[in-house]
Symmetry: D2
Subunit: 304 residues, 4 copies
């Protein structure tokens, strides 16, 4: 399909949608980002590319990287993975300890912080040099050597990360963390610091639109069934306490980050990345969700 | 697509899958059902039909009917509906009061009991003779005059329904129930008593596979966008605390009932109904979920 | 001890303490009470009486009556009582359903609404004419025939009582309510409507300061050990989510009501009743707590 | 009063009461204690002493030490203390994170682990050499230089203490911990390792029976009003989720530890310490509670 016409419309529409909410403020690296930035990029599985606004500017993808550690850990562990983390939506704010305690240290899904920490613990066990091997994995997915961590962001996260220390300590008290807490947290904070542009992001995630193969490099990242399952988890758990709202309005599996980025996938068709730093009350990009709703409504593009 | 070959396989497979769990026991009408019953029926949007086992035997569809009251109320109210009920997964067992209290009487979605009671309250306000008008609506959807309530089941539910009284009283204390509690509960218990066969069920729900039009009668039930949104809510909330598991394994939007029935939808393709009365710990048909997982895996049929 | 001197001081002090907060507003009978009313009355076990302000004006004692139904039910049931209700502080607001659900329908103590409803259910089982027999019991305790229900208040409570319907329905679903819900609720709303003056209240509760015997009538109401245990439950559970604060500041067992009344007991010495209708955020009389703190501090009167 | 006769009876009774439950097993130092140990010691405010069984054998007083850090911090901070920790019973198991999160990092009282950690944080701020100064404080209270930490126990606690790390991290994320987490935890684990005999324990706590003055040394430890308030907090919060039960059955303020010790106070009369290592399901000494109930019932000794 040719999205040129629609992207012209979206260029106009995107100027009408006011970016409401507030930029994340818990670390300076996120807080000082220009709140009015806006980028959008779509890549089809036959490698047609459509961009808008600041789509070639790097930003902190934050929790979107949780999908990539899941992809790697799922490949390494297969279904053993699910003894340590669930696949159910959380129904509570994203870093709540309540549910974790109720569930005896087994996080409900891999996209809440607790779940991502368990995935990190698995990768720390599995990989010799987790940070290096993981960034190589990320680069190889889209054949893009420019993708990297932002050390400054990672270090800032560390000094603000007491709630994550609480989460991982609680899980360790239940026996669901194997490695040293500080090592796992270090890896976690680094992966949250990865930076990409909207274009890079949409190309990075194209494998989930193509049954696990990245069409740009023709390399298999995950099996077809794992690709479907990762999409399913995104659909149900990708937007913290707002997964239903995103699914209801946008109709695609997706994942957000507090940097203001969102990736969404139409299996068999395309991946689309958007960036607008101001977040709504539930921690998701306000304008990002709006423009994606506009896009899928106009394109009549939905998995439902 | 021709599913004949696959249904032959499924006939064999279905005999291998042991029905684990237990038949619902809180009312005699459900408890006395033969636990080994098993039926399956698929209807494509071009009206090809594939059946297996006891697919022409009536059973109590129970909570599956919640999708139909939602469809009717959504048509009548449009987006006003969402001021009184949410679209987020519940993350807790299906009739929990905890979350309802925390959320000040606004149920998280229309498929938990509290949410369905709000939908009933809306229909009691909107319809002159709710029970009669609703069953007419259900019959018209698939052009099937044999569909009816089971009065015996409805009356039994009433005498066991104190938790629903608690839910509706709590919501009334928050102002989210307008009508008399007993009138709303009466309607609720009747709609849960509706009986269909697997074949009737798959034909009843075909409109959600066809953008809101039932291809069998060519009548529009809901608009395309409402059809998508109902599917989205089923995907995220259709299986109580097990929505993630169903989505992960089966990969389709669906809805279960404590009678052991499940309906699932592949938008653009088909609807499929299964019935096996024995429930797993989370209140969903054990064998029903297994056979649907087998089917979508073999057919490589998933929205993801 | 002679409290004349101290009551003179308290007369002055009571004019300095501003009554902050708000009068209960959920029913007109409570809402229309003059917010500036203030009464105080102390009765020693040797029947010395000290009064202040509006201490001879009737007001709605509300939840304070829960102590009296407990006394009667405890006499009738002995320790069997504790299989249906606990003796632990609730740690949550007074009519929360959360904890009740978590505890499978066994209320944490007899002074939260759920617990009082269970006590009512017991009395409805035990008494032929619960309302008449209970008011006779109350009158006999202090030999005061003028004590009565306020029918107007009771009927108003009924029409505002959906949260209590929710509580009792939930308990019935767990099997912890034996009788018809409406009958138990009717009794509950009537007992909450009892009216007394501060003087009547302090004389009514004097038996808990005297090991279970009312020194005014010389009649035994409960055994010494039951008297101690009722005091213990008041100490830990008498002020909803503020029991610790009352115990910390006042240092006596006591019980409050949303009518603005408080009764407190110094075992072996006296009972003291106060009335000031404006409530703090936790539903207890603001000025009532302040003046009792002043009194026990000055009198150096505390069980600790 | 002369308790000789009663202690003879209690010697017989104590052999009849079976020690049910299980010794704490989370660290070897507690687990290897002889489960059949039993000691009891009462000291009156005029220094009469009554002992039974293993009352001169040291054991780990564990959480009982939380009363002593509270006494010291309360002296140092006065009522400023209560901006950082509450005085309400917790209503949930003793190390639950749920309530702490709900209350935004302010623990409900100083005797749940979270509350004790806040008190430790205050002492780490206030004292130059917290461990040394605190043990000196403890020794001075009863003039007993033999009281000391058990380093082995403290170090074991550290390696098992991930839930405490979770608690303190969560509070730090809310800004209610000022100092370095590891420093505060180190102090906390040491104070929990203090060892005393029953006799030492009853003499150590005698100041709370005597309005804040230790009659043995004639030195003031806390003011009379602080003594009363500490007793009040013990009464409402001293036994985790079983405070109501202890108050109901024993009728005195008290505090338990997982080492199997309990201290109880009768203001104006005596302090009494008991030790029996086997704990009931709620973490309190089974036999210890039983023998104290027997004692206060026989002695008709209760604050109520």
């Amino acid at each position: 399909m040719d999205y040129n016409q629609l992207f012209t419309e979206m260029g106009i529409e995107s100027q009408k949608i006011e970016a409401k909410g507030a930029v994340a403020s818990y670390i300076p690296e996120l807080h000082r980002v220009d709140p009015w930035k806006f980028g959008l990029h779509l890549t089809t599985i036959d490698n047609k590319n459509y961009g808008l606004g600041d789509c070639n500017e790097k930003f902190s993808i934050q929790s979107i990287a949780k999908v990539l550690i899941l992809a790697l850990a799922f490949e390494l562990e297969d279904d053993k993975l699910w003894s340590r983390v669930g696949v159910e939506p959380s129904g509570t704010p994203f870093n709540s300890l309540v549910q974790l305690e109720y569930e005896k240290g087994i996080p409900r899904n891999p996209f809440i912080n607790a779940g991502a920490l368990v995935i990190c613990d698995i990768l720390v066990t599995r990989l010799k040099d987790p940070k290096q091997e993981f960034i190589d994995y990320v680069r190889n997915i889209s054949g893009n050597r420019s993708i990297d961590y932002c050390q400054e962001t990672a270090e800032s996260e560390k000094s603000a990360g007491y709630k994550n220390t609480a989460l991982i300590s609680l899980m360790k008290s239940y026996g669901n963390i194997v490695n040293d807490i500080d090592v796992v947290l270090d890896f976690y904070f680094y992966l949250c610091s990865i930076e990409m542009t909207c274009k890079e992001l949409s190309q990075e995630f194209l494998f989930l639109a193509a049954n696990g193969i990245n069409p740009l490099t023709n390399s298999r990242i995950v099996s077809p069934i794992k690709s479907k399952r990762i999409n399913s988890i995104m659909q149900l758990c990708g937007f913290y306490d707002e997964a239903g709202e995103f699914s209801f309005r946008v109709g695609l599996p997706g994942k957000s980050g507090v940097g203001g980025g969102i990736i969404a996938i139409h299996p068999g068709k395309y991946s689309i990345a958007v960036w607008s730093p101001k977040l709504n009350k539930r921690g998701n990009s306000y304008k990002g969700m709006k423009i994606l709703e506009f896009f899928t409504t106009r394109a009549e593009s939905s998995i439902f």
